[in-house]
Symmetry: C2
Subunit: 186 residues, 2 copies
Amino acid sequence: MRETKSKYAVLGMLSIAPMSGYDIKKRVEESISNFWTESYGQIYPILKSLVAEKLVTKTVERGAGKPDRHVYALTDQGREELQRWLAEGVTPKVERNELLLKLFFGEEVSFDINVGHIEGFRELQRGLLEKYKAIEKEIKAEYADNSNLPYWLLTVSYGQHVSRALLDWCDEALLKLNKTAKSRKK
Amino acid sequence: MRETKSKYAVLGMLSIAPMSGYDIKKRVEESISNFWTESYGQIYPILKSLVAEKLVTKTVERGAGKPDRHVYALTDQGREELQRWLAEGVTPKVERNELLLKLFFGEEVSFDINVGHIEGFRELQRGLLEKYKAIEKEIKAEYADNSNLPYWLLTVSYGQHVSRALLDWCDEALLKLNKTAKSRKK
DNA sequence: TAGCTATATATCACTAAGATATATACAATG
DNA sequence: CATTGTATATATCTTAGTGATATATAGCTA
């Protein structure tokens, strides 16, 4: 297991509280799904190797009827490893953007198809912005005394800034495309 | 080979001109590297399967000294398949964001480390914004009569909107973190 | 002449995503 | 009362995608 990001996402989740692989998946979805995803295909093998590296400990809770819960808890060594990674510089990475790839080859298809893509994207961003606003309100109320709050709010604000900018871009893009279409008709 | 995006990136590049796998890699880097990446590990196997599907044809040019050039050209069927995909709706996808993951667990490390991450990110975005401005200028001059230009400009403008928004977010984030730090000292 | 860069194809190991298999408990619905 | 759906829970498999490396030649530069 090399410098896989999933490893640190798992360690990070366990730094909040001891939990099972299933819990980790749920927690990721609840708290950081706006900018992170984890799959069972990553989580379970990683938990196994984290135990081998002594970064976490495993306790089996006999489940009443339900499958046994394998509960993992961060060791001191595990916390150190998480902190080491958190202190490391962030390596920038190009994100593949399907919308932009389609628009780049936009001349291959009709004007309406391209407009449709942008309009669909605008709806998406509008929904996201609403969602971010709701999250902000919710966590400000629920975690008012939690020392993590300032950092959590930062991640929500990031989404808001991006979505607002993309809504502007959509409007501008639609205007420009319309202008181009008109001038070509003449 | 299923609905892999790489397949359509390759078909798209070949819609501009016939070229080799090596050319495709270069062209992707020159033209769409701000929002797309392709690796040889994808390109070569895909070209093979595209030939099998009759979406492209292959011609071998004997190279003088250099390795032979395998030049691929889009067939009518290939262009249709590209257009079919371009008309399809864009499926939204959550992008993993390492910076936000690190900030989410920011309380685990010192104030300065988090500030450092944001400052580094601000520099990155500043550089990107400059780059986008340069690209805009360049392609407006070089492709003034190219009918693709309006679409290509859209992709550049997207980057500009996002980078500007992220610069704002950085400034805001640094302010907020400073406030939090001060109020904790008291 | 040794090293670097560009051309060019190809493959391998590893990371990550998404779907599926398996099994149980409990609540809701007809 | 039986069936359906949802939640809990672990685990694995296939496919997609990244990045590095292998191989080979030509030309330029220090």
